[in-house]
Subunit: 353 residues, 2 copies
């Protein structure tokens, strides 16, 4: 009587990815049990910096072909700059998948989280979501160098297409419809004079189709500051690849730990699987201690449930994560003494209650 | 018996610039009085968005020629997007001067400020300074558009020269020598694969000449988050034009108000005057109420004193600013009820005591 069946490609990746991913798979299995009519299979791939040292590639040539047939990709963290330069490891795996599978939208919520100590004196009840353009902009392979020695010059091109920009913005407006009906655009048209005035124009155009949604436009410097001084005023923020990256780390910081921030890389044309990965990195400094915070990865699993249409279960999972945190089942980064597994186990136990 | 004589070009600019600049000139006059052997003359220029509406330029054609002969430029704020688009007003005045006068270094301190309510629960005693590359990088006029309608695409070039990058880094290392002997590089070489790996290489090269200075390298997303979670670990941070812009607004935010953050645009080859302007903008929403915080502009005057070699007087001025703030002479943005002028007057009175 299995009603829904999802095949998931699991890439733990590097560092604490290998600790928080297994913990989260237990939670997903518990969710399936709870549901009754839901089944997951997990197929694990060892692609990582260690894999690179052995094979000189981050994933096999057939990697994308293999991944293509899964319903989703569940990824831990990629990168270990001590053994492989970041631009090789990331562009050979994380960014490669984002691009090849047209995961053009990256969504990342940040909210005031019960039981967590925000570094802000007055975090109020902020609850925002950043829609990050995930396929172009400042993250571009276009560019290079000229001259050498004293005269060496590097040129980096940022590429903004109307299609890509508009797609991210429409996604943001559609999302705002289901939320507090407000979209803030992250710009920098006062300093960056080609791409950002274009960004502003597209925003004004798209906005016309959503007369019921309020809007605001902030330069990224002021917006980054506002994430610290008044995050509660925001609902949906739409941002370029780089600006979204920066804002969502600040989002993690004001929640109380980057270790809890989740993310989803969405393919919105239905052609390829989406990929679910937390905002945090591989944190080489705490590997092997069973103290990595699993919440970012587990909250990411909740976003995968949403994506599969299991919104009620997703909601329940997030409630349980908050309860468990409030009841002090917490890893050291957020002021507790629990292990990675203890937190995940408690979440499983409460789900089944 | 006048020993030192400085001719200063004053550009109040837009909005609250016209309020905080006069207040600060009073403070500078008081400083001159106190010193005895110091004299300032102030020559005011009305260049602003209103000037633009009348003359279709932000400053006359001869503007740069005129400014060239001054010892320094003291600027309030530029921009009023309701009447002139930002990219016109800023690039026609502020950025134009930065570039023409080779003000290649922008330095911006942020420190825990007695008497101010930081939005951080535990701001500790942070005291950092951002050295921002101020002449190239992401702020470039190189780029454009191709196609129109659905296919329109904007390309923005970021240009990093070894000369410009190295200059900013050497400035940062030299500054660190006089401080806590640590430089942090703001990079993003994991996502931005041409300019930022180049930035990292130059950093590694420059570092070799400063074996007594400790270093660290943070990706800008993690660094922005660290400004919120642990600003006390930083001493000098060296950043590109855009990254420096973003970090220094966060710096203002964690101090308790962007209204107090100062900046100096330095010409380091001695050919042209330097320019002193606070980090905040023209704040059209509070114009005319005599409530704008003058501290950003007055602290900027302190940086001008440092630049003129009057380091002791500069130090004294900053002490007085902190005292006055602690004693609750504060504008509303930082929780007080004082007017712009009352704060400046109190600073003058205490300097003379
Ligand atoms: C107004 C704007 C162009 C400017 C900049 O980004 O440089 C401002 O934010 C600053 O930091 O001085
Ligand atoms: C690792 C890095 C390339 C990546 C990014 O900047 O996209 C990360 O910071 C993220 O936010 O997913």
């Amino acid at each position: 009587m299995v009603l829904k069946y999802f095949e998931i490609a699991v890439i733990p990746g590097d560092g604490i990815g290998k600790e928080v991913v297994p913990a989260s798979l237990n939670v997903l299995n518990t969710i399936a049990e709870l549901h009754g009519g839901l089944k997951f299979t997990f197929t694990e791939f060892p692609w990582s910096c260690e894999y690179y040292l052995e094979h000189e590639v981050m994933m096999p040539e057939t990697g994308l072909e293999t991944l293509k047939n899964f319903n989703a990709i569940f990824l831990g963290a990629v990168g270990n700059p001590d053994i492989v330069p970041d631009h090789i490891s990331l562009w050979g795996l994380l960014i490669k998948i984002r691009r090849a599978f047209e995961q053009t939208i990256n969504i990342r919520p940040a909210k005031y989280f019960k039981g967590l100590r925000s570094p802000l004196v007055n975090p109020k009840d902020f609850d925002l979501i950043v829609v990050r353009e995930n396929s172009e902009g400042e993250y571009s392979e276009v560019g290079g160098r000229i001259h050498s020695g004293k005269d060496e010059t590097a040129i980096q091109n940022a590429v903004f297409t109307r299609k890509g920009t508009e797609r991210a913005m429409r996604y943001a407006f559609d999302l705002a419809k289901q939320r507090k009906k407000h979209v803030t655009s992250a710009t920098k048209s006062n300093g960056i004079v080609h791409s950002m005035p274009f960004w502003d124009e597209v925003f004004r155009d798209v906005q016309k189709d959503y007369s019921d949604i309020g809007t605001a436009s902030y330069h990224i410097d002021a917006l980054a500051a506002a994430f610290v001084t008044k995050p509660e005023i925001f609902d949906v923020i739409v941002a370029s690849n780089l600006f979204g990256d920066i804002l969502t780390d600040i989002g993690g910081a004001i929640m109380g730990s980057i270790g809890i921030a989740p993310a989803a890389n969405l393919n919105v044309n239905g052609k390829y699987p989406s990929m679910f990965e937390p905002v945090h990195g591989s944190a080489p400094d705490i590997v092997g201690k069973n103290i990595a915070n699993p919440i970012g990865q587990i909250w990411t699993a909740k976003m995968m449930l949403d994506h599969f249409g299991e919104v009620e279960l997703g909601k329940r999972l997030l409630e349980v994560i908050e309860e468990v945190t409030e009841d002090q089942f917490k890893t050291p980064d957020i002021g507790g003494t629990s292990t990675t597994n203890a937190v995940a186990d408690e979440i499983c136990a409460r789900l089944l209650k």
